[in-house]
């Protein structure tokens, strides 16, 4: 789907260690979310979670191009981005379980995971709201004359909110170092996004703002990597904002609780064949990596996350006094309440 990016070479000169690492990371993300879905059924995950199962290639392909000090702004469907940016899955699982040691100390939950240590400035419960925030973080980078960049993920539904336009316009006008990634999984909650979207979507809209944009098969890790790499290099070199429009598919319902009965099962089955993890597995196999090695990587990922699950489950609840901490410096948050 992407004409202008260098066609990723397959098989022959693959960077196998890197690809195995990516495969492992994708498996860790998948395991995290599968376990989180299970944990919700068991009542361990307390609020809504939005799995990105089937979309892992976007998170992994893009974030692999970032440095640790680059910044990330994510969405309600942000576990994959966050893990790919290097966050600790145990702290994330604890956050989902609302426990001490969670990334936000149990105050945020899945939709507000943040890990400032790895440059992850927050998921967001408000669709599209992270876009101006990302532009602003990039603005700070410019003012501080740093060479960091910002990656901002959002969904296909988010492009119909005003902050998408305002944030992209802002980033272009101020020539800011930000990579916008539209993770187009075809759905906005229970609505097929195409039914509520005019025009060809994120890339077309970005181009109307003179922001260079590429459309890629978001389930093809190598394509995502190649195009993201070019974009990140250009942005870091001062070339201004860019947008990647990644076509993918949401394999689960909107939330873990959504059965997604509004779409034909055949469609889901058809799309399952393009599972991004299986595609990487095929690449590795074709390049001669042994099945046992693939199994080992998958099992290792699963084991790590099962361990995180167990530890999170046994972690204590936040201390009640924490409810009143970190509100603000000025004024007493308890005043006049009781």
């Amino acid at each position: 789907m992407n004409a202008s990016a260098a066609a990723p070479s397959r098989g022959s000169n693959l960077d196998l260690p890197r690809l195995q690492e990516a495969y492992h990371l994708m498996q860790r993300i998948r395991s995290f979310e599968e376990l989180a879905v299970d944990a919700q059924k068991e009542g361990l995950v307390l609020g809504a979670i939005h799995p990105s199962i089937g979309q892992e290639a976007v998170a992994v392909g893009v974030c692999a191009q970032l440095r640790e000090d680059d910044l990330l702004l994510s969405t309600h469907r942000g576990h994959g981005h966050t893990l790919a940016k290097g966050a600790d899955p145990l702290a994330m699982m604890r956050e989902l379980f609302g426990r001490q040691g969670g990334t936000c100390g149990g105050k945020g939950g899945s939709m507000h995971i943040a890990d400032f240590e790895v440059g992850m400035l927050g998921a967001n419960g408000v669709v599209s709201a992270n876009i101006p925030i990302a532009a602003g973080a990039a603005h700070a980078i410019k003012l501080r004359d740093e060479d960091r960049i910002v990656a901002c993920f959002f969904g296909d539904g988010a492009i119909n909110r005003g902050p998408f336009l305002e944030g992209l316009n802002w980033a272009k006008v101020f020539n800011l170092p930000v990579l916008f990634i539209c993770e187009d999984n075809a759905f906005s909650a229970t609505t097929r996004t195409s039914s509520m979207t005019a025009g060809a979507g994120a890339a077309a809209r970005a181009r109307s703002l003179d922001i260079p944009a590429e459309e890629v098969d978001g389930n093809d890790l190598l394509e995502v990597e190649a195009v993201a790499k070019q974009a990140v290099e250009s942005i870091r070199a001062g070339g201004g904002p860019r947008l990647l429009h990644c076509h993918t598919y949401r394999m689960t319902g909107h939330t873990a609780a959504d059965l997604a009965a509004y779409r034909p099962q055949e469609e889901v089955e058809e799309r399952r064949k393009t599972d991004p993890i299986q595609r990487v597995a095929r690449l590795l196999r074709d390049a001669g990596v042994a099945e046992a090695e693939l199994d080992r990587l998958a099992a290792d990922a699963r084991a790590e996350l099962e361990q995180a699950y167990q530890v999170a489950k046994d972690s204590p609840w936040p201390d009640e006094t924490q409810a009143f901490a970190d509100v603000q410096d000025v004024g007493d948050p308890r005043e006049r309440a009781f």
Partner: protein, 327 residues
């Protein structure tokens, strides 16, 4: 009478009004699949996708378009999904919907109902749990409604749809499954009329929305100890039923306001201040408010619980008003 849930009562209200008046229509994200909580289930099959309309994720445009559609002769019911997301449409609601009639010298009418599911709903955290009724009560031009029972959700939503003013309609997410008796035939509850949930001589508890039930629980506990609390569920916050509140406090000489929202600058301040202004010489104890501390709502239950007003807190507050020292 029949048993119905709060959510089903809202659904029925909308269906009845859409049947009665072809100019009534609803628009919001995911309505075609029944809405995010199922409040619209089956309605698209009954009324078609033009009148139960999906929308892009565009709260500002949902609200703004509703203003235009209302001024041009229809009666839109707009769904904000969570009250928190209505903050993406504040200009449209406050600067446009609320002011159009006045600004244009009476030429416009903006008959528009904005459904905003509100309140704390287990582990939804800071961006999906707010109760901002005080904001809307402060804005000239807006009517503010916060039903607590299935019957009221039926009767008040119907009255709101018939009202020619823009109405902010706050359903509490925790109440969706609540069952209650609902009249069979046409049931309208007038805007601006409070409901005396329980009579009592010793103090008046004024509340609204889901806290009604916490207050009832507290009143039952108080009754065990011989204290009879009168509970008034305001139901409509603007206009609020001043007469009913004042005459109750004239009788009981004590006022406790109970709200789920942040207490500071919450709507409870309006009630408490109004009663103190009007009835000071009569009061046997200081007016008193209960509400959330001024902190965002947390995700973890141990933290989230810290901002909830509990029946125990209500009992304690009521007792403090009854001790002679307070008078």
């Amino acid at each position: 009478m029949s048993k119905t849930t709060y959510i089903e009562a809202g659904r029925r209200a909308l269906a009845e009004e859409m049947t009665r008046d072809p100019m009534v229509w609803a628009v919001g994200e995911d309505l075609g699949r029944g809405g995010v909580f199922g409040q619209y289930k089956g309605l698209v099959e009954q009324f078609g996708p033009d009148r139960i309309s999906d929308a892009p994720i565009s709260e500002a445009c949902i609200m703004g378009a509703a203003v235009g559609a209302a001024m041009a002769g229809t009666r839109p019911v707009v769904e904000m999904r969570f009250a928190d997301f209505a903050l993406c449409a504040t200009d449209e609601l406050v600067n446009q919907a609320a002011k159009a009639r006045y600004m244009f010298g009476g030429q416009a009418r903006v008959p528009l109902v904005v459904r905003q599911p509100m309140g704390i709903w287990r582990s939804s955290a800071a961006q999906h749990s707010q109760s901002l009724e005080a904001w809307y009560a402060h804005i000239p031009g807006l009517v503010v409604v916060a039903p607590s029972t299935p019957a009221d959700n039926l009767g008040l939503l119907k009255s709101s749809i018939r009202c020619d003013d823009p109405v902010v309609y706050l359903e509490h997410k925790n109440l969706w499954p609540l069952e209650g008796d609902v009249p069979e035939g046409e049931h309208l509850v007038p805007l601006g009329k409070a409901d005396t949930v329980r009579e009592g001589r010793d103090l008046t508890i004024v509340t609204w929305s889901a806290q009604r039930f916490t207050c009832v629980e507290a009143a039952e506990a108080l009754a065990q100890e011989g204290v009879e609390a009168e509970i008034i569920d305001l139901r409509t916050l603007w206009p609020w039923d001043r007469d009913q509140v004042l005459s109750s406090v004239e009788k009981t000489r004590r006022l406790l306001v109970v709200q789920e929202a942040v207490s500071v600058a919450g709507f409870g301040a309006e009630i408490a201040a109004s009663v103190a202004e009007a009835l000071h010489p009569l009061l046997a104890a200081p007016v008193k408010r209960l509400g959330a501390p001024r902190v965002p709502v947390s995700y973890a239950p141990t933290l989230e619980n810290q901002v909830r007003v509990t029946a125990e807190a209500i009992v304690a507050a009521a007792k403090s008003q009854l001790t002679p020292a307070a008078a």
